[in-house]
Symmetry: C2
Subunit: 158 residues, 2 copies
DNA sequence: AAATCTGCGGCATAAAATGCCGCTGCCCTT
DNA sequence: AAGGGCAGCGGCATTTTATGCCGCAGATTT
């Protein structure tokens, strides 16, 4: 399947407003509602759209702490990565886990209730003997930019 | 305004599925559609819900590169942060910018078309004389975990 | 204990989604 | 170059959903 300009525009608009009505979306992309809806369904079915999500202002709900953590493993066999990942997947507060190049192995992103909870989680992970050699924590003080969407425009020049 | 258990449940469900119909949402939280919609509207109006977004599988659209970049500024006056931030805000490919502890540094998250584009952007930023002392790049090889939602449950024990 | 207030469910109306159908323009075949 | 087939469009009818209104119940206050 090949995406044309209209498909990209649809993805762009749905990133900006995931709850736009099909009628409004159709207007924005210069289609009538029927073919517009057909395209959206197709984009979902083919996996270009993975889902829809509300963006919650978690700061308003209570104090939270975001931390980026660089983790180095002791060994780098397949099994070492798999074991680490299996443990990390069970931690609700880990909202991202990336395998990265450049001196460290994993970059994690935590959202926790506070420094205490973060500390507890990291103690548990290091005690678990899942091959963590060392880690370094970047505690987030402020997040001036947090976009919910990917830069479709600059990537694909719509 | 104070949120009760039902409000948290609504936020939780809307994070999982931002395009759920009000009728279905009402069933999930054991309300009838009317009061459920009223709560959702209120949560939006009060800023607990900042918006809705489609999650795009950007990898299917073409090759992309994600990079975490740790930036150190030369000086740490108000004006230095402001100038850096103003420049970074103009870069479409920066989807996150966090002020982190450990020497008043920034952690950026880029999504670019490839290492070439990333390199170009970083050259431009360093040449711009916005006070960047040095930076270190973590190129993402793989992202085993990328959650679109915050850990509401573990944070607020619903 | 009475009054009030907040929040609920049910109902009616307006809006949207969704499936169907026929038309049009493009591409492939001959 | 002409004809046939096909993909994709717009319009319409039906079903589903959103949304505003009203009366009721439980909790809180006086």
């Amino acid at each position: 399947m090949k995406l044309d300009r209209i498909d990209i525009k649809i993805l762009y608009e749905l990133q900006k407003n995931g709850r736009i009505t099909n009628v409004e979306l159709a207007e924005l992309v210069n289609l009538s509602p029927s073919p517009c809806l057909m395209r959206v369904k197709k984009l979902q079915q083919e996996g270009y759209i993975e889902g829809y999500s509300a963006q919650i202002n978690i700061g308003k709900l209570g104090q939270t702490l975001t931390v980026f953590t660089e983790v180095t493993l002791k060994n780098h066999r397949q099994i070492d990565f798999a074991r680490f990942l299996a443990a990390v997947e069970k931690v609700d507060q880990v909202i991202e886990c990336h395998l990265v190049s450049g001196g460290y192995d994993y970059m994690l992103k935590f959202v926790t209730a506070g420094i205490g909870e973060y500390q507890t989680i990291m103690e548990r992970l290091t005690d678990m003997d899942i091959g963590i050699d060392k880690y370094f924590s970047f505690v987030v003080l402020k997040s001036p930019i947090v976009k919910a969407h990917m830069p479709l425009i600059s990537l694909f020049r719509v």
